[in-house]
Symmetry: C2
Subunit: 272 residues, 2 copies
């Protein structure tokens, strides 16, 4: 056991079984109320593609469906390149556990990106810089929250000491791996899911809730990630509709130099 | 051939081959520049689940990945229930053509919905009612656009006669099947993709572009769809980021009684 491996890298570590078949293990460091944090599961699924010898390009889209609980212990990921075109590659993903049951499914699109006309249509939200804000106390929250240095601006709802007077479902924070780790596609994927369910924020309390389906769109390339390094990124999350047991969540992750790195959209089960 | 079948129902028609394996055929009525309109492909994939004897509940989430071109002609859809829980069901989808190559992949989540606390967090955009607006002339646009009665408010970019002076990537219109057809999950799915690529609107021109991955979140239940009937629904679409060959698009579909029926998020290839 090496003491130099970052807990994030430990959690997304995979051992090759055969081409496209990988063995992984849940990590207590990223444990949630029950089973692993969804962000780390998304990241390890993406890693199975990143590690695949047939992979081309970088991720542009990832969808993860949380079909059933993941038990603490080993799991197998099957990553299959369904179709490879000149500049895009489509993948299917499955995470299976010892009982043979599929716990998580997914799909991803990778692409060789090239320079084109570009524009950001939404405005970078100017906020107090991360280092001028206090770090949230996550000592009473699930284990995974302590793998992040969270600097809340509003609606964090992790320490329960931040009443939301605006009666909306918006969270804004700066987030950084703890210990700091240079940003890559895997940690960006995980951070996209580092918001509590919107129902906690909107109703100011804890309710049974869990992500059902999570889609991430990547706007960053490797160069943008490298220039961000291990500094805090700005995360924003909101909802458009709560009803009949499910609500959505849309999130943005921005670099500290005002670049939109990723947007993500999820559907969440809740009971309230 | 029956003259009473609506062209939409004709286009999403499937013949059962075996459990979970369906035979379909592209429909010239929903043809795009090349191959079928993505909305109709998404709808026919969803229909393979709707028709499946093992299906429970209604769709809450659908992701469709356009992996390669669909040729005009027959296709086979494989719809597989990967996991069935008490109130949710996870599906995987593949559309294959004669050459055996996978043209489209997908996943869906169905759920038995129940009453919970509810709230719409975004505001219904009050707009001029559909019937007070002129229908767009789509006579020079791809065939599928003539299967819709489109009443543009801004940024339609189908007839090329609507310069967008605001220099944004926003489209707003009322849309209805032509001929009118009562709204259901299939037509709602298709309408979520009835916007032109955002690059057309933002750059005021036509560029090579195509949807790569499309996720739809359903907020409506059957009751809401029934009460909407065949009236126009309000559609809004925008982008957050164009860059390195891809842009995103987020869309909302509202009933005329101010209910949010669906939101959808897609990633689009473009060359500009």
């Amino acid at each position: 056991m090496s003491t130099t491996v970052h807990p994030f890298d430990h959690a997304v570590q995979l051992t090759k079984q055969s081409d496209g078949l990988w063995l992984g293990h849940t990590s207590t460091a990223y444990g949630n109320m029950v089973g692993p944090f969804g962000g780390i599961t998304s990241a390890v699924l993406l890693n199975a593609i990143q590690q695949h010898p047939a992979r081309i390009g970088d991720p542009i889209s990832l969808t993860v469906n949380f079909a059933g609980p993941i038990e603490d212990g080993p799991f197998t990921i099957e990553a299959k390149p369904v179709r490879t075109n000149r500049s895009t590659q489509h993948w299917s993903l499955n995470l299976v556990q010892h009982n043979g049951e599929v716990a998580t499914t997914g799909s991803a699109v990778f692409a060789i990106r090239r320079d084109t006309w570009e524009s950001t249509e939404i405005t970078f939200p100017m906020r107090t810089p991360a280092l001028e804000l206090a770090r949230a106390d996550t000592s009473k929250a699930p284990e995974w929250t302590r793998r992040y240095d969270l600097r809340p601006l509003k609606g964090l709802m992790i320490d329960g000491q931040q009443p939301n007077h605006e009666l909306d479902a918006v969270t804004e924070f700066w987030v950084q791996d703890d210990p700091p780790r240079p940003l890559d596609f895997l940690s960006l994927t995980s951070m996209c899911d580092s918001f509590v369910p919107r129902i906690f924020v909107r109703r100011q309390g804890r309710f049974p809730a869990g992500t059902i389906s999570l889609t991430t769109h990547f706007h960053a390339d490797t160069h943008m990630l490298l220039s961000q390094g291990s500094k805090h990124v700005l995360g924003l999350a909101r909802a458009s509709r709560f009803g009949m047991g499910y609500h959505d969540q849309s999130a943005e992750i921005w670099s500290d130099s005002q670049q939109l790195l990723a947007t993500s959209h999820q559907l969440v089960y809740y009971k309230a």
